[in-house]
Amino acid sequence: MRKISAFISESAAGQALLATLMFCFIFVVLFAGLYKAGLSYIQKEKALRGTDMTALSVGAVYANGLQLVRYSNVALMASLIADVVTYVGTEGRVDLNLRGKIQNIQKKIFGIGQSGDEPSLISYPLLFWLEGLQMAKNNQLMCNWPGFSNGFNLPLLPLPMFLFNPETSDLQRSLIPNMALKFRSAADFMPEFPSDKVFYFHADPNGSGRIIYHPLEEVEPATDSEHRGQMWVKPGLPYQYTYCKMKPVVTPGVDPKFKNSFLGKSLDATRELLKNIQFDVTHADDPHNHTVVVCDQLPSSISKNSGKDTLNFHSLSEIKLVGGGLAAWDIAQPKFKVRLIPFEPQKLPVLRDWFVSIPGLPSAPAIPRIGDILQQGLPRGPSAANPEDIGKMFGIDIPSIPSIPGGF
């Protein structure tokens, strides 16, 4: 050892050898780091692509379902004609009520309830959920829903997770497969009372002291604020991106005296009565909104935490269906098309608002930032992202775990 030490410290050749070994070590570390980083980039790209493919596939089956709705409405129209012809032909003695039977079939198959869209697990929406699971597997994404491979055990966070039409329904309903459909009723042909107007206001940025008012249509949730519910003026309008507050007093759309009068109450009662007269199936929202969000992760063999765990890559994708109406006379219209929507991280505050709107959940922490997306796992604490909180949402008692690996 003394000879070696003397050789290295005193001899020029030994010092050169030591320097060479150090350089080699540095380059080996650089190679290893570059290789691991490169693999991570490749896996991240695969994860993004996998969720995009899964979302597009779910959208294709969903679009096929909307085409089936058109066909069923044609059948409903034909049955109505048959009922009318039979009724008239038998001078009112026979009512086949084929239209009622067709409507019942539509209700069962497309999961449509009396009061609008009621998600159903024994219906066509279940098909595009199952096809989505299959396509996630085909694209090497994680699929840990109960099955033969995992002994029918429900994991804490089953993946892939789908949100169906989340923009126009609450979080609980959007977790269950649905097609955002309803029966058109006679009440839809009655004009609605003008809705109450909410106004937002802010001071004139030019310092004139004037107060500027904006209706609800001109404002949107601010994407760069840490305060939940902060609104700003929409881009493209005068005073764009200016923060504004809600006017405490709501401007009524209809004179309250008229609304509470005999005529106003009669109109409301008539509308409620006409809702029971149902026609064909149509979109639940106007303008129609059919979207699906897919959340999944791509497992990888890249190790982290000194080999104790593996790196998994989460990804989110969203698709939207565009097309025309669903009535029988729309049968000649082009089929519904699937469009991939770029996922915007700024939407995360909106998603968090959905979580905190669920009654019984503890208040959420600060709005997650872009940096949180890149971290592997969110900080633990009272949060709507905790599995036990998600379990409370469904009335299931889920024991707590130390952390959610690979969180997003």
Partner: protein, 157 residues
Amino acid sequence: MGLLKPLRNSKGQALNEMLIVIPLLLILAASLSQLAILIREKVQFEHACGLAVRQYALGQFPKEEIANALWNNLGAEQKYFDKGSVNISAQDTKTLLGRDFRGQFVFLRTVMKEGLFNYGGGDWTITIRYRSFPLLGVLLPNGILFQTRLSVLRHPA
């Protein structure tokens, strides 16, 4: 004794060391950059495949045109790949219903042809050869084979 005399003279030793070390350092640095380029091209390949299949899912062209779409999507990175080596092996994608179902129940084929379950797609395994140069081209004259697998459905089939 005459042979040992030059060894005791250390004049010019640093220059000699540099003459040996600098080329080694340059080779190592070049290898790092080659690895980085290789990884970048792999990511570009994965992205181009995804883009081509996404275009197919949106109905822009039939299945047979995916190879051309992949090559077009590579764009400026085409110089790193061999167009003749693009190989796409396709099989009918596994679905619960759709094309597989229509194929299995022959008597329902006519009814289902237009529309009860009018969605289908493919399950593709895409390979392409990466032409590495200049350093790796010496070590790997046949290049490196990139492979990926992806699957999608579209409507109408």
